[in-house]
């Protein structure tokens, strides 16, 4: 009896979930979608120390959401804490932070290689590419340079616990968060690509984490220092003068760039630390001015987690950190929701096309 009643409840919950999902799909505006028969890859970070990082494949045309593809292709899981995924040619580079390697797969998620420094394993964070190389921050305090042809890695020391990384004009910038320090770090490292040496640093707000290149300038999102009472902040760095200016948004929790437009996800919490719904704002980076709210159809993003931009969509992810998350895809042209789906993994964070 007990079992049956519970299973009954399970079915009810599952049914309610499916109903909710199908309703969301009903919002899809058929005309506004670019015709695509191409998969998107959603990286689910997973839960720390639970070895459940995963990649979910999503096709907006067929609405097919596939989880477990990597496991089926390779007979094993991705590992612990999927940090970043980058499309390099026809390959995907997936940095798996706690498992201490970068997994290279084809677009069917079939594993092709594992990349790790030769001497000792390091914990990869974020990836970027430029000048024919792939760059990765290692949280132990290094920038890695990967030759995609040979998969060989060389490293150079940067600041403490580097996080975000971008390549611009022969230079690599790393956000040296100092996340494992009692007092977080407040600078970016500048590394010259040709000599692969650290040539300088730029002082920014405390605990810099995300770097985005937009309209020729570098945008830095930093967590701030909760312990010191320093708030999160969005800053713009002029790459020629290295001048840093603050951009005034409240409760920033992530940034993404598409063309000359910067998308700023803002969250925040009420007094009880319940998350407020996420709001996405546009910042016209070319003109240097705010361009209003992005979402135009009233979509509420509860438990907003990350923001991501691809050629065809602006993505917001949602997570309560323990259950499978949600992914929202918006049309960049009109700010309307195109699709909402269960990410089939914990902490969906990055989407690549």
């Amino acid at each position: 009896m007990k079992r049956i009643s519970f299973i009954g409840k399970l079915l009810l919950v599952a049914a309610a979930g499916m109903f909710a999902l199908s309703c969301d799909k009903g919002n899809r505006d058929e005309d506004s979608v670019v015709s695509l028969d191409r998969a998107f890859f959603i990286l689910n970070e997973g839960s720390y120390l639970k070895n459940n990082a995963s990649v979910t494949r999503y096709n907006p045309e067929t609405k097919r959401v596939e989880s477990g593809v990597f496991e089926e292709q390779n007979g094993a899981g991705l590992g612990d804490t999927g940090q970043d995924v980058l499309a390099v040619g026809d390959e995907l580079y997936i940095s798996v932070n706690v498992s201490q390697h970068i997994r290279v797969t084809d677009r069917n998620l079939k594993s092709k290689a594992v990349i790790s420094p030769a001497d000792a394993p390091l914990s990869p964070r974020y990836l970027c590419q430029g000048g024919g190389k792939v760059y990765v921050t290692y949280y132990e305090g290094f920038l890695g340079e990967i030759d995609p042809a040979t998969r060989a890695v060389r490293t150079v020391a940067v600041g403490p616990n580097p996080d975000g990384v971008v390549y611009a004009n022969g230079k690599i910038y790393t956000a040296d968060s100092g996340g494992y320090l009692d007092v977080p770090n407040t600078s970016l490292s500048v590394v010259d690509a040709s000599s692969f040496t650290r040539t300088g640093s730029i002082t920014v707000n405390s605990n810099p984490t995300s770097l985005v290149l937009c309209a020729g300038a570098l945008f830095v999102y930093s967590y701030g220092s909760y312990k010191e009472g320093i708030p999160a902040k969005l800053q713009r760095v002029d790459l020629s003068t290295q001048q840093v200016t603050d951009i005034d948004y409240d409760s920033v929790s992530g940034i993404a760039a598409r063309g000359d437009m910067l998308y700023v996800l803002c969250g925040g919490y009420d007094e009880q630390w319940n998350p407020l719904p996420g709001r996405i704002y546009k910042y016209d980076a070319a003109r240097g001015q705010k361009a209003g709210e992005f979402v135009t159809d009233g979509t509420v993003i509860a438990n907003a987690y990350k923001i991501c931009a691809t050629e065809h969509f602006i993505w917001a992810t949602a997570s309560d950190y323990t259950n499978n998350g949600d992914v929202y895809a918006f049309n960049p042209a009109d700010g309307k929701l195109v699709a909402k789906l269960d990410s089939k993994g914990v902490n969906p964070s990055i989407i690549v096309e």
Partner: protein, 674 residues
């Protein structure tokens, strides 16, 4: 995952393993546990005439089981769920009927042991070598003569020391050596004897060391394009070294009272192997513990009065290091907990006419002072003063036992740091009422029911951990109610007993860690409803000569659903790490000098994350073990040989995700007593 998320996960893992380790103290006399009412050696593990379900593992059962730590014993009991991070050094805690480990009160030697920092005590800290019996009272203590602090808790687990043997003979010395898989060795020595007429003393020391590098089957690993299935790896950085020493004094005073005193010192060092992460193994954590415990109690029974008063002091030092390259400066944290307490119980029995009817009134009072000092940046060095008073009334007749009581808890906290900006939690007080009933409905058939409203106080980690803690937390409430039947039937010299209990529990204001973008916060957010049943059967059959056969089996079902947030995807789902079905069976053939026993633990599927989906499922497992024991007499010496084979079928399972349990392993031990 954000850096702060990683930090919290580390905190939780570290504080999980950093647990305070107090040695199980000898001392409570068996009769203070109501052992007089425990069914004789033919019975099963349950007491039949109590208003709440009770479980008892006596010294003979302990010896037969071949168990070497408390977790091995508790996991065979109905309604108990042992959480185990694996290996000798891995943290082990016990939760009763799904309430969570912090709702289990551990009493040793008549004193309540608490870990003020993290709440749940590590079971591996208790020394089974010196344990005489283990009693579990589910819901509320049925024995009124219990320390006050055990009444507000969800369940009480009491560990009683081996009775001291101080007859007329000379000093009794026993020395032994144990060997186990993974290069484990445990030499031990114990001396006991008479100090003066009516006064006895015992001293013991043991040292356990192990490489702890047990093999486990890694999930399939892919290196580049090639997949290699079922690698066998070894746990790295799991070495353990534990030195336990203890001294105990017991004596009868001229006025008919009993005085006990004990002192224990434990020192340990261990590697923390951490979670098994796919594709990398990088143990960087170590833990040191030093624990000193002193206690003394005086007890006397006179007329209808029974009285006990005692005091204790405990100091626990922990050092934790982590030299992972992720930390720009390696971690080297030190924590010092101190507990000072006094405990008293007065019980009055008033006979009501003939036929053994009696009214019992008991008043118990615990006072304790606890402090935590840590060298972390923001630790306010909190101190807690707590008082628990318990007043209980029990009516007993041949057919009926009815108990009602209330416990009042008051907690005051302050900071030792003179900084005005340091805030401590406001004073808290709460009443925990309870009532139970046992009725002899027919010959050998007892019906029982209880109701209880208990709670747990937030731990210092919940309240004060650097930026994670929240001082405004309220206690986590645990309401419990249950009813059942216990039936015992004698067939010649054989005896059969059965118990069946059903229950409903509800946890409100569950204290959980809630992540935010920047930092995690402890909050009173959760609600869990539990419906369950525990069934047990046992048989005792005397065989030829002095041999006897015993069989015990139990099965528990528990439906524990999360009702915290209606909008969450796990609303209405079974909570993590909680099987719907679990059970155990023990079969033994024994005489006075030899025993052979088989134990099975069966645990159904469960989930390691809140959503009950295939990706989060942990498969069911069966763990079989065998134990054999034989005593020989060689002149004046008694030689005991014991051997155990654990996880016989070499099943690869995890209780906690990413923490594999050891596969098949063996142990041998030899002891000589002169």
């Amino acid at each position: 995952m954000t850096a702060s998320g990683i930090e919290l996960a580390i905190l939780l893992t570290v504080s999980a393993v950093r647990g305070t380790c107090v040695d199980a103290q000898p001392s409570e006399r068996a009769d203070t546990l109501g052992a007089a009412r425990v069914s004789d050696t033919r019975g099963g593990r349950s007491r039949l005439d109590s208003g709440v379900p009770t479980l008892r593992v006596g010294s003979a059962a302990l010896e037969r089981s071949g168990a070497r730590d408390l977790a091995e014993v508790l996991r065979t009991l109905p309604g108990l769920n042992v959480k185990d991070y694996g290996g000798i050094g891995g943290l082990k805690t016990v939760s009763v009927r799904g309430l969570g480990a912090a709702h289990t009160a551990l009493c040793s030697d008549g004193f309540l042991l608490t870990d003020i920092q993290q709440g749940a005590m590590d079971l591996s800290a208790f020394d089974l070598d010196d344990t005489g019996s283990i009693d579990v009272e589910i819901g509320t203590p049925d024995e009124l003569f219990s320390p006050a602090g055990s009444f507000p808790a969800g369940s009480a687990l009491r560990i009683s020391p081996k009775a001291l043997d101080f007859g007329d003979g000379p000093l009794k010395t026993s020395a032994g050596i144990g060997w186990g898989s993974f290069n484990s060795w445990k030499p031990r020595v114990r001396v006991e004897g008479r100090l003066a007429p009516g006064w006895g003393v015992s001293a013991r020391a043991s040292w356990l060391r192990s490489d702890g590098d047990y093999p486990f089957h890694d999930a399939k690993v892919i290196s580049g394009g090639a997949s290699s299935a079922g690698n066998t790896l070894r746990r790295e950085g799991a070495d353990v070294s534990v030195l336990k020493t203890g001294l105990r004094l017991e004596g009868n005073t001229r006025r008919g009272g009993t005085l006990t005193a004990g002192a224990d010192w434990t020192s340990s060092e261990r590697g923390l192997p951490g979670a098994v992460i796919y594709y990398t193994q990088n143990p960087t954590e170590r833990l040191w513990d030093r624990d000193l415990s002193l206690r003394s109690a005086y007890e006397r029974t006179a007329g209808g009065w029974r009285f006990r008063a005692g005091g204790f002091f405990r100091q626990h030092f922990t050092r934790y290091t982590n030299d992972d390259a992720l930390y720009p400066t390696p971690l080297d944290d030190r924590y010092l907990q101190r507990h000072l307490g006094a405990s008293g119980i007065v019980q009055r029995g008033i006979p009501l006419g003939p036929a053994g009817r009696e009214l019992r009134l008991a008043l118990a009072q615990d006072l304790s002072f606890a402090s935590l000092a840590a060298d972390m940046m923001a630790c306010p060095d909190p101190q807690r003063l707590s008082s628990v008073s318990a007043l209980n009334l029990q009516y007993r007749s041949e057919r009926l036992t009815a108990t009602a009581g209330v416990a009042a808890t008051y907690v005051h906290e302050q900071s030792r740091k003179p900084d005005a900006s340091v805030q401590t939690a406001p004073d808290r007080s709460r009443l925990s009422p309870s009532a139970s009933l046992s009725w002899l409905a027919a010959k050998g058939l007892h019906l029982r029911a209880f109701i209880k409203d208990g709670f747990r106080v937030p731990t210092f980690n919940d309240l004060y951990y650097d930026h994670f803690g929240t001082i405004h937390l309220v206690p986590e409430k645990a309401f419990q109610t249950g009813a059942g039947a216990a039936w015992q039937v004698d067939a010649g010299a054989a005896r059969l007993s059965f118990t069946a209990d059903a229950y409903y529990n509800r946890v409100r204001d569950k204290i959980i860690a809630v992540p935010t973008l920047f930092v995690w916060h402890m909050r009173n957010l959760g609600r869990v409803d539990m419906k369950g049943a525990d069934l047990s059967a046992s048989a005792f059959v005397p065989l030829w000569g002095k041999y006897a056969f015993r069989a015990e089996a139990n099965w528990s079902v528990l439906d524990a659903v999360d009702l915290s947030k209606p909008e969450a995807k796990n609303y209405g789902y079974q909570i993590e790490y909680t099987p719907f079905n679990s059970g155990a069976a023990c079969l033994s053939l024994s005489s006075r000098t030899a025993s052979l026993s088989y134990t099975l633990c069966a645990v159904g599927r469960r989930w390691y994350l809140p959503q009950n989906i295939a990706a989060n499922e942990m498969p069911a497992y069966f763990d079989h073990s065998l134990a054999v024991r034989k005593d020989f007499r060689v002149h004046a010496a008694l030689l005991s040989l014991a051997a155990e084979a654990l996880n016989l079928t070499d099943v690869n399972y995890e209780i906690v995700r990413s923490y594999p349990m050891p596969g098949r392993q063996f142990r041998l031990s030899l002891q000589i007593t002169i």
